[in-house]
């Protein structure tokens, strides 16, 4: 497996500019001859598809929802980082790079992180030009808020709907290009395979979710912008439809899967209410700016939170991390919440919850200021739980939220499979072992607006256009495989439902490969997953037909892939015998219970190569170097 990251030879500050200057180009007259497939229409997919189409490429965009605007980027709440330094608090490209690298616990590729920090400011300019109504100060200038893991104010926001507004911005550019004819939109079509011909990705096979038709689409390059795999846990903050299918199918066709064990458990979500629960809802991390997190000092304290006096309240983050307080990075906040609940200090009916209290903030800053910042989040919380955060503290608990792992890509965002690109959450590149708040949208849009439109040209210019179409036998073979799998799923006619099996897989993953992992638990999971998978393939029940809209069949196809992928996740977690960022191995912690890295043995990206079903995958390593920012123990205490 060729894992050359293709990092340009130049000082890190000028690396991207130098790279751009030396890239091969496709001339404007030639661009319409090249066709690019973009799968997924979230922030990364919509920005990439619209940017490439605006340059002149022919783009085919795919989404499984009924409209591009439904992609789950829409649910991002808090904000987007950019090192504009509008607050005059000493922000810079270096600082954003430093924070991201440190936040990721030194497990990301420096070159990519620097470029991300550098492009962050352009994203804000682009979004504003599209009409994204960011919050403004009285004088009309853009407003900022602070976010976890950072000591400057660099987060731009639109109330608690930043993701929605940025996605609508990107989707409006996409709509513009659909209207102009540059983009052909394929809605309600799901990717079920990637077609590789002569070691180049040349197209995809999709299922029309309304008619069940299996169709082939050929192109000169394929871009996957298909998001992350948090739904492997069944309960997560992801949308119901989010899945690993596209990246997993690409992996099975030869693309390396990097760091699958890095997944972020977000600290501020609404606790599970019961067995019926279908998903978890995130409350923006921005709440931690003004909310104070605490639990009662006494175990099983049944008093109403308002009646618990100051002395009996344990503000554990403020006590343990005086410098960052409630604004420690997400992994640290989540792990601490789990710890206090393990010590039986948790609140709520299940004991799996901690308080997020706005009492003091409302007293100090007033209802108007707090309302201006969080009103919609308070309303959302009340809608779901029936409790009013103006009167009693919110209850929160961590939930799977974001996956830092993904397809391995080089500096050009191309996987080891020629012509297969991965952008946004679908790739692994920028967040290391933990992502800081307000940086996922930054990465999606940097990839989509500014990086892929250039690097795709560098790739395409090396090949003649349109030399393959869907009549190539590789498409017929892939279609046959996909049809076979669909028919097989429909033919099992057993007794267990997709929901129940998915829930079962989720519980195993949460228990054994969740906030904290250890070798014994992971070994146990590796035994249990194949058992569930066997039952899935032998005793699954799907009713109805595969030739019509059949949502159970859609879910079954996605679960089938999760049931294979989850094993790789555990294998990776087992192989990474250190703690770093969100990957917390019980065996490796400091005396204070913080993640203890082993830089001598694990300063690498783990890239897995598929060997065939029933064969153990092979792990390759991309070594990481730390030149711009030397390795240091992550410390949010002093």
């Amino acid at each position: 497996m060729d894992l050359d990251p293709k990092i340009p030879e130049a000082p890190i500050e000028s690396m991207w500019d130098t790279h751009k200057e030396h890239m091969r180009l496709v001339g404007p007259r030639n661009r319409p001859n090249y066709k690019v497939i973009v799968v997924g229409t979230g922030l990364a997919g919509a920005s990439a598809a619209s940017s490439m189409a605006a340059m002149g490429y022919q783009v085919d965009a795919f989404c499984f929802q009924d409209s591009p605007r439904r992609a789950h980027s829409i649910a991002a709440q808090g904000g987007i980082n950019a090192s504009k330094d509008y607050r005059n608090d000493g922000d810079s490209t270096y600082r954003l790079f430093y924070d991201t690298q440190k936040g990721g616990d030194y497990r990301s590729r420096e070159a990519n992180v620097w470029r991300l920090a550098q492009l962050s400011t352009d994203i804000i300019d682009q979004a504003v030009a599209q009409g994204v109504p960011f919050a403004r100060e009285y004088g009309g200038m853009l407003a900022n808020r602070s976010f976890g893991g950072v000591l400057v104010e660099r987060t731009f926001y639109c109330r608690g709907e930043t993701g929605q507004q940025l996605l609508l911005g990107a989707c409006s550019a996409l709509a513009n290009q659909i209207h102009a004819g540059g983009v052909t939109l394929h809605a309600r079509k799901e990717l079920l395979d990637v077609v590789v011909i002569d070691d180049r990705a040349r197209g995809i096979v999709t299922r029309d979710l309304v008619t069940g038709a299996i169709e082939s689409h050929a192109a000169d390059a394929v871009v996957l912008a298909t998001g992350g795999y948090s739904n492997v846990y069944y309960l997560s903050t992801n949308a119901k439809g989010c899945n690993v299918t596209a990246t997993w199918r690409a992996h099975k066709r030869g693309a390396g899967f990097a760091n699958p064990c890095y997944n972020q458990i977000h600290p501020t979500c609404i606790p599970v209410a019961g067995e019926h629960q279908a998903k978890l809802t995130l409350m923006s991390e921005s709440l931690r700016n003004d909310g104070r997190i605490w639990v009662p000092r006494k175990p099983a304290d049944q008093r109403n939170p308002a009646d618990i006096p100051e002395a009996d309240r344990y503000y554990y983050l403020e006590e343990r991390y005086p410098r960052f307080g409630n604004l420690v990075p997400r992994d640290v906040a989540s792990r601490n919440a789990k710890e206090v609940c393990d010590e039986k200090l948790g609140v709520g009916p299940s004991g799996l919850g901690v308080y997020l209290d706005f009492r003091d903030a409302i007293q100090d800053k007033g209802k108007t200021v707090i309302g201006g910042r969080y009103e919609n989040l308070f309303t959302m919380y009340e809608k779901i739980t029936g409790d009013n955060p103006w009167q009693s503290p919110m209850r929160i608990f961590p939930a799977p939220h974001y996956t830092m792992g993904g397809l391995w890509v080089d500096y050009n965002l191309m996987s080891n499979l020629s012509g297969l690109f991965a952008i946004g959450e679908a790739n692994f590149s920028d967040h290391g072992a933990n992502r800081l708040g307000a940086s996922s949208m930054m990465q999606c849009l940097a990839d989509g607006y500014f990086i892929i439109p250039l690097t795709i040209g560098d790739y395409l210019s090396r090949y003649p256009y349109g030399d393959v179409d869907t009549s190539h036998p590789a498409f017929a073979d892939a279609e046959r495989e996909v049809k076979g799998r669909m028919d097989h799923l429909m033919s099992i006619q057993g007794s267990e439902t997709v929901e129940s099996l998915h829930r079962e897989l989720g519980r195993v993953m949460w228990d054994k490969c969740g906030i904290a992992r250890n070798a014994d638990g992971l070994q146990e999971a590796l035994k249990k997953i194949p058992e569930i998978r066997d039952r899935f393939w032998n005793d699954l029940r799907i009713t109805g037909s595969g030739q019509k809209l059949n949502q159970t069949l859609e879910h079954a196809g996605r679960l089938a892939d999760f049931l294979e992928f989850s094993e790789l996740m555990c294998r990776d977690a087992l192989a990474r015998d250190e703690s770093c960022g969100c990957h917390f191995r019980d065996e490796h912690q400091t005396e204070e219970g913080e993640a203890l890295r082993d830089d001598d043995n694990f300063s690498h990206v783990s890239v897995w190569e598929h060997q065939g079903t029933d064969k153990e995958p092979i792990m390759h390593k991309e070594p990481l170097s730390f030149e711009a920012l030397p390795l240091a123990q992550r410390n949010y205490k002093t």
């Binding site: 682009q126 030009a129 109504p133 407003a143 709509a175 513009n176 119901k240 019926h276 019509k548």
Partner: protein
């Protein structure tokens, strides 16, 4: 809690469709409406029947995919709420609940409770954007925007494109949806160059899609899960009128694409 559900079942676009009765028992009050539907579907699968097809994705009220008419009201009885944010604690034990898809000529039923809302996308494609390519742009602080204007634009821009406005309107009008986008961009300085052309193009597309006209019933505002105000319809009408006076009849001098 126990409920009697009357659910619209329709095999595909050509099928006539009918209401089917189901009993559902032991539902927790903390259960969301869609989780109750998930439980129903589990039951149906276990009994070897086909589950009810319905659209949903984010399940937190922002993607705009869920779309059920519950007891005659789009998204059910609560104000400012999408179907996925509705909880069974808002119903009484023993209630009969009727569940239907959005009803509109412009939103044909795909199956059961799933409808085709691509007409909305085509309205947006006709002009719901600012024509800018990706690339370097001026610093946004070079054009100050009053916070009140930015907030008002956001009040309109927070539309989730669910289509409840159309489902609620006796005329099946899409004025609230269209006007929200027209107002969002029309309020901001960035949206000025294309302001009048935009409103023309979007309104014409809206009419071509078969949506009805506005008669100020204001049902759309009442049903809107994001509580978007019908004042934006007034704004759109004013812009539309101005545009008919402002836009040149002879367009030969214009560049249509760049």
């Amino acid at each position: 809690m126990n409920f009697t559900l009357k659910v619209w079942r329709q095999d595909d676009a050509k099928d006539g469709g009918h209401l089917e009765k189901y009993q559902i028992e032991d539902i927790e009050p903390t259960c969301s409406f869609l989780e109750m539907m998930d439980i129903l579907n589990e039951q149906l699968t276990e009994q070897n029947h086909e589950p009810v097809a319905f659209d949903s994705d984010c399940r937190e009220g922002i993607c705009g995919m869920c779309s059920m008419v519950i007891n005659g009201q789009p998204h059910g009885p609560n104000d400012g709420t999408t179907t996925c944010q509705l909880y069974m604690r808002h119903f009484n034990d023993g209630d009969q609940i009727t569940i239907e898809p959005w009803r509109s000529v412009a939103f044909p039923v795909v199956r059961d409770l799933v409808v085709d809302r691509s007409a909305f996308d085509r309205i947006t494609q006709a002009g719901g954007y600012i024509n800018v390519h990706s690339g370097p742009k001026p610093d946004p602080n070079s054009v100050p925007i009053e916070p009140d204007i930015a907030e008002e634009a956001l009040d309109a821009a927070c539309c989730i494109g669910c289509g409840a406005c159309v489902a609620a309107c006796p005329n099946g009008a899409a004025m609230l949806y269209t006007s929200a986008k027209v107002a969002h961009l029309g309020l901001l300085p960035q949206g000025q160059p294309e302001r009048f052309e935009r409103v023309q193009n979007m309104v014409h597309q809206m009419e071509d899609e078969g949506f009805g006209s506005c008669r100020n019933y204001a049902e759309c505002e009442a049903a809107c899960p994001k509580e978007i105000s019908i004042k934006f319809i007034g704004k759109m009408n004013r812009d539309y009128l101005r545009s008919t006076l402002l836009l040149p009849v002879d367009r030969r001098g214009r560049m249509d694409s760049q």
